[in-house]
Symmetry: none
Subunit: 245 residues, 2 copies
């Protein structure tokens, strides 16, 4: 029973998936290993409809929920993990092998929801998608042919998660803030950076992504999230109050 509860907290998030067969394969692997929380971001509608009629992962797909963006899909999760097979991309957060990442995820699932993001078949996760992640899992494929089939990548990551014994050590006692709060803090900080003149108006996307990474590397505790928002709002108010009107 306890195991079920842990597994139910995991959210597999498929971002911009195009191929219904891959969606079906992801759902089937989820069902094989006992996971049920499927979320789809910006799917090709037709693909999603087709996938729902696929055999194997039908129960999982029937309960899948759709979100307009990654931020909304991970809002209630305290840990957000990206996935990649690539080597060339500049990723500014830790890359972990599946067997290194799995115990960290399992430990976190004891108390809160965790999201694992999988990108589209062609492009994988974008830099914007990755900026919502605390770290990424890299499946160690061959350099000459790194790009994996989506359904197979999902299967390997879930297999690694499921095969863990239940006795994974709980590491940190600090309960981390939910992604929704972390993102609100990020937005307030972005406003403060702009209001202070630290960044120029008309912020470049790359700067936003950098700031998002900066805030996520802090690992803000849940208990402090409201306080940080209050501080940032006050600082913002003060800076704006003094603008020449």
């Amino acid at each position: 029973l306890r195991r079920l509860t842990e597994f139910e907290r995991l959210q597999v998030v498929l971002v911009s998936t195009r191929n219904p067969l891959n969606m079906g394969a992801a759902a089937r692997a989820m069902s094989n290993f006992g996971f049920a929380g499927l979320r789809v971001v910006n799917p090709f509608e037709e693909a999603f409809r087709e996938a729902r009629s696929a055999l194997g992962g039908r129960d999982v797909l029937a309960k899948a929920q759709t979100y307009p963006g990654v931020a909304e899909a991970v809002e209630d999760c305290s840990l957000v993990i990206g996935t990649t097979t690539g080597r060339d991309r500049e990723i500014h957060h830790p890359l972990r092998k599946p067997e290194e990442g799995a115990p960290l995820i399992r430990a976190r699932l004891k108390a809160s929801k965790v999201a694992i993001l999988f990108g589209s078949e062609k492009r994988g996760l974008s830099n914007d998608d990755l900026s919502h992640c605390h770290w990424s899992i890299r499946i160690p494929t061959r350099e000459a042919h790194g790009s994996m089939n989506l359904g197979q990548a999902v299967a390997i990551v879930l297999y690694e998660l499921a095969r863990r014994p239940l006795t994974a050590k709980a590491q940190s006692k600090i309960k981390p803030a939910r992604s929704g709060d972390v993102e609100r803090i990020t937005q307030l900080l972005l406003e403060a950076l702009s209001a202070s003149g630290y960044t120029k108006p008309g912020l470049a996307t790359s700067t936003k992504e950098k700031v998002r990474g900066l805030v996520r590397r802090l690992q803000i505790p849940a208990e402090d999230a409201q306080l940080w928002m209050g501080i940032l709002r006050q600082v913002l108010w003060k800076m704006r109050d003094s603008e020449p009107s």
Copy 2:
């Protein structure tokens, strides 16, 4: 180089596979993890032709060889492994988890060829197929939905074979900022709190301690410390710049 030779000795044997997509997926996973020896037993001819035109595992498929039966396909191998996800079947040889089987296979590959058999999508391996095997790998799926997609099962087994033994620690550990920098950030934040009116002038010691705790719970990475100081200085400058003088 030695590793390559080892990997070349592995023969993935698909028995009576029907779906060209699964054949293609198996070949793609082989290519992802560096295996090349694909053998197909009694394939549906049309499926095999279609699969050959699939992207991803094209090199592997082009070199694949066809055999009339399992006996012929494993003739030159010194170890033959079956695969199953089932529980109900009477299997008269050892069943091993992927992580238990992988080291045994790797050891054998140092000197001789090893075959891993995967059965058809509908029926898996027959008792006759299994009678050629020394033991089987069972992927630990859920009892209520054990049957895996063929391409995903191949991917998981090959992933287990290809991944190296786990080296002690996660490589990318975030180095935390030195206490001196953390305290400098704390002081700048205290000044900002005061300048913004968040705290009253003549700060109570207890408030200072609370803020110190607040900053330390963030676990600021060393690489980000200077950036945070810069941000705080800029915000401070902006707030002070606007004070009535």
